[in-house]
């Protein structure tokens, strides 16, 4: 079994589901290792935060966790996608009075990125598609993802790993698939996600770890120039963990400055089951 829709082994969703009608919902992409979800508590926390922001009733954590484990069972290396929508409703944007959220869980086997990616670094283009500014939706992993779809459609060259996205006012925000951070001298930097962007669970973990590791990460607004003059740049998400970036457009970085205690610490923690 690899799909559960509201607890049932089925692969379809009612056409009246507001996830389809309006993108009215949220999702999480969870790494499964040896039958267990990694960083579950952070995924769960982001999901509940998103539900609160959108006014979607919270689901019971034990129920979701049990369904996740049911799908993850026996899989050594897989991806689990968990979608929560506002459920079905009558015509119209207005959220129904009696909301019954839908949950759609699906799992698929996953090949970890090759060692070369971590050794040689990822190659990025700078996308033409810009992120719109929308503080009401910033940070949460909602289902309105046309900006990412348009950005991802900008390249088909398989040697390009990801695309850097700026916002409408030229700030660096994230990549199509990951968050971004960089080191300039002794200082770390990662963009603020108050206006747009998705606050990834690994970024969240990184911000928590930094203090204990004696590192300082500034969360602020940055121009592309700030990023391009950095000593080392990385991207993070729940599947790849942390990957150095070797190239963004014409700018190429040398791998000699990639290794760092904070990077090693984060890489270990990402694969912690249940963390």
């Amino acid at each position: 079994m690899d799909v559960l829709v509201n607890g049932l082994a089925q692969t379809t969703v009612g056409y009246r589901d507001r996830g389809l009608q309006y993108g009215d919902g949220l999702f999480e992409t969870i790494l499964i290792l040896d039958g267990q979800p990694c960083l579950w508590h952070r995924h769960w926390r982001r999901l509940t935060h998103g539900c609160k922001r959108l006014g979607i009733p919270l689901l019971a954590e034990p129920l979701l966790r049990q369904e996740v484990e049911q799908l993850a069972r026996g899989r050594t290396h897989a991806i689990l996608k968990l979608i929560v929508t506002r459920g079905e409703g009558p015509r119209g944007y207005r959220p129904p009075d009696n909301q019954q959220p839908s949950r759609i869980l699906s799992v698929s086997d996953w090949q970890a990125p090759p060692e070369e990616l971590y050794r040689d670094g990822a190659r990025l283009i700078v996308c033409n598609t810009r992120l719109g500014l929308q503080p009401a939706l910033a940070g949460i992993k909602h289902l309105n993802r046309l900006e990412q779809v348009l950005a991802r459609a900008e390249w088909s060259d398989p040697s390009v790993h990801d695309g850097l996205m700026l916002d409408q006012e030229d700030r660096v925000i994230e990549t199509v698939n990951a968050n971004i951070l960089w080191r300039s001298g002794r200082r770390w930097h990662t963009p603020s996600l108050q206006r747009c962007g998705v606050a990834g669970v690994v970024r969240d973990l990184l911000l928590d770890l930094a203090g204990g590791a004696g590192e300082d990460i500034a969360v602020a607004d940055y121009a592309l120039e700030d990023l391009l003059t950095a000593d080392a740049v990385y991207q993070t998400n729940s599947l790849i963990g942390i990957v150095p970036i070797v190239r963004i457009g014409d700018r190429v970085w040398d791998s000699s400055s990639w290794s760092h205690p904070l990077v090693s610490l984060l890489a270990q923690q990402v694969h912690r089951v249940g963390a």
Copy 2:
């Protein structure tokens, strides 16, 4: 029968449909009168324009038209919602190489608004939710509608008919459910939809009719103050046609200036079958 999914009488959609996964698609809301779709050519034109903008392959118009008529048959007054998505695909934002768009048509009986609405006018609040600026998606009726969901959740008072939406930079754009236009002296005005908003089919019809009627409609950027100092304000969409607005927040308009030849002309044309 009231639902057709890819031509079949079913009410479910595969969970892998990108409409659900990313809101990767478009929709039209079409008035059905006496078994026929009103303003079909304009709906079709907007839909194909949206498909081109998103890079979704165009469907065959005769096929869609035939399915629309199949659902509309025998219904004197109904709403038909037509969703077109990029179809199913593997995991990830990247549009699949071999796209097979999905079409999801559903019809439901509809009660026309009471005569009082046209006589007494609509009451609007000004929503706190602002529209984000995204030229890549502006104008088309795509499935990323969380902004409208959040805005519509701002009121539950049934005496409020709609909510006015501004963009992030305080320009007047549209309402949650309709486009907006106003008359100041002899001049008509309607907001530009280059940065956000949905270009409605009735707004489109209005812009075409105005020239022939010797009226001039300025399409430009406007502040809330421009709207509130207007002599008469209206909202338009494919279901209500054109409705005068009696109140926005604290500002109240007198019905004496509502009637106008352009308004009467538009009202007649909206219900033209096939136009």
